[in-house]
């Protein structure tokens, strides 16, 4: 069964790099949103530092929404999803493989870009490892939530819009603990508490999310 997962992972990664514009759009969106805040608010260093954590996490959250709709829609439209349902592996595992691929192309680049954006908000260099750690724990949860939303709306024509309405309220805890971890890191204090909570959310999401998304996909395609 592991080889089935690896085949799906490899194919989805290859497809993601072939659709490079879809890959780049959320990342460019992330940088643009973060860059607009100083224009709308203030270029003052102290104020930018105080809003930096919130801006980075909101930008990450909003940009991750852009990559959601394609998670199952392309497979549903070209008939691949029917073949994946008949795959010689549990559908939950197949969905997990697709989530991992989605995280690799949407979450991992954020881990690289976020410190650069953070520096433009005058966040101390010492806080960057904690920011990366918080994002590394938060982005899998966001990818799982994205998968659940995409699965629930796969058969709807305007699914992309509805996913945002479904998913954004659920991302509240990730936003709260992620922002708190970044703020504490900027103050030079321990970030263990929020990181543990983000890790707990990630474990919960990765354990249950693929099963919920698999059930939703199966129901939608019946």
């Amino acid at each position: 069964m592991l080889d089935v997962v690896l085949h799906i992972l490899r194919r989805d990664l290859r497809l993601a790099f072939r659709r490079w514009s879809e890959l780049a759009t959320p990342l460019i969106f992330f940088v643009i949103i973060a860059s607009l805040f100083p224009l709308a608010a203030t270029p003052d260093e102290a104020q930018l530092r105080s809003i930096g954590a919130a801006v980075i996490w909101m930008s990450a959250l909003l940009s991750s929404l852009l990559a959601l709709d394609g998670l199952f829609r392309a497979d549903s439209e070209d008939g691949s999803m029917e073949q994946l349902i008949l795959a010689p592996a549990p559908l939950g595992l197949v969905v997990l493989a697709k989530i991992v691929a989605h995280w690799a192309v949407s979450g991992v680049p954020l881990l690289v870009l976020a410190p650069l954006v953070a520096m433009s908000f005058y966040l101390p260099l010492a806080a960057l490892p904690e920011l990366i750690a918080a994002l590394a724990l938060a982005t899998p949860t966001l990818s799982v939530l994205a998968a659940v939303g995409a699965a629930l709306t796969v058969s709807l024509r305007a699914g992309g819009t509805i996913i945002g309405l479904l998913i954004l309220p659920l991302t509240g805890p990730v936003l709260i603990f992620g922002t708190r971890a970044t703020e504490l890191a900027a103050l030079g204090e321990s970030v263990a508490g929020p990181l543990y909570l983000l890790a707990s959310l990630a474990v919960l999401a990765v354990s249950l999310g693929p099963l919920i998304a698999a059930a939703a996909v199966r129901t939608a395609l019946e």
């Binding site: 069964m1 080889d3 089935v4 085949h7 799906i8 194919r11 290859r14 497809l15 072939r18 659709r19 439209e77 070209d78 008939g79 691949s80 029917e82 073949q83 349902i85 008949l86 795959a87 010689p88 592996a89 549990p90 395609l221 019946e222």
Partner: protein
């Protein structure tokens, strides 16, 4: 009510048994009291007007949808409850070909082969289906007929005993049609079972053992 007309068969025990099947879609009853059975080496031709439930029947047989009533028995198991390790025994080719547009023909076929732990090599299939010229072309650049050929090649790579083909002749030229008929014959000769829906029953009549008219 649907009817099944039996032709010749080998007299072996049936491996696919459909009993009093009822299928509903969107609250509308499509099939009612449908029964037929297939033994190894038999092919059922499913015929009927648009909207008569041909695709729904194939999807239910594949385990992609659940029947409203009745029973389907494939080697003693219900398709929609097949354990993952047995799912490779059923190959389904629907209206949509299941190919990735951003991958080349070769990449799609190699994925099918490795994903399904397929039998045979990719090269002979490419030659048989006259896909040599577009082997390294992206599927999105192929004609509908060429895409159908690639989808059929994927089907052939899957080591399945039950083939469920929804309008397999769609977009195919005369040569492609002949290949499908030949493959159905070969599959039956190897003891495989097939259920094929079609609007062109006269073209597939030679490959069919029974006709299921919806």
């Amino acid at each position: 009510m649907a009817s099944a007309t039996h032709g010749d068969h080998f007299g072996a025990c049936p491996v696919l048994t459909v009993t009093s099947l009822e299928v509903r879609r969107g609250g509308i009853g499509l099939l009612r009291d449908l029964s037929f059975e297939l033994s190894p080496g038999q092919t059922a031709l499913v015929t009927g007007a648009n909207g008569s439930g041909k695709t729904s029947l194939l999807r239910v047989l594949a385990g992609l949808a659940v029947p409203a009533a009745g029973r389907i028995d494939w080697h003693g198991k219900t398709p929609h409850r097949l354990p993952p390790e047995d799912r490779g025994d059923i190959a389904y080719l629907g209206h949509r070909d299941g190919l990735k547009r951003e991958l080349t023909v070769d990449e799609n076929l190699r994925f099918c082969r490795s994903f399904w732990k397929g039998r045979g090599a990719v090269e002979p299939l490419i030659a048989e289906l006259r896909l040599e010229a577009c082997r390294h072309r992206y599927v999105r650049r192929l004609s509908a007929g060429q895409r159908r050929r690639v989808a059929l090649a994927c089907l052939r790579l899957k080591p399945a005993r039950l083939w469920l083909l929804d309008e397999p002749l769609t977009n195919l030229d005369a040569r492609g049609t002949d290949v499908v008929i030949e493959w159905l014959g070969r599959h039956a000769a190897e003891g495989g079972v097939a259920v094929v829906s079609t609007h062109r029953p006269q073209r597939l009549a030679t490959a069919a053992s029974i006709e299921v008219a919806l």
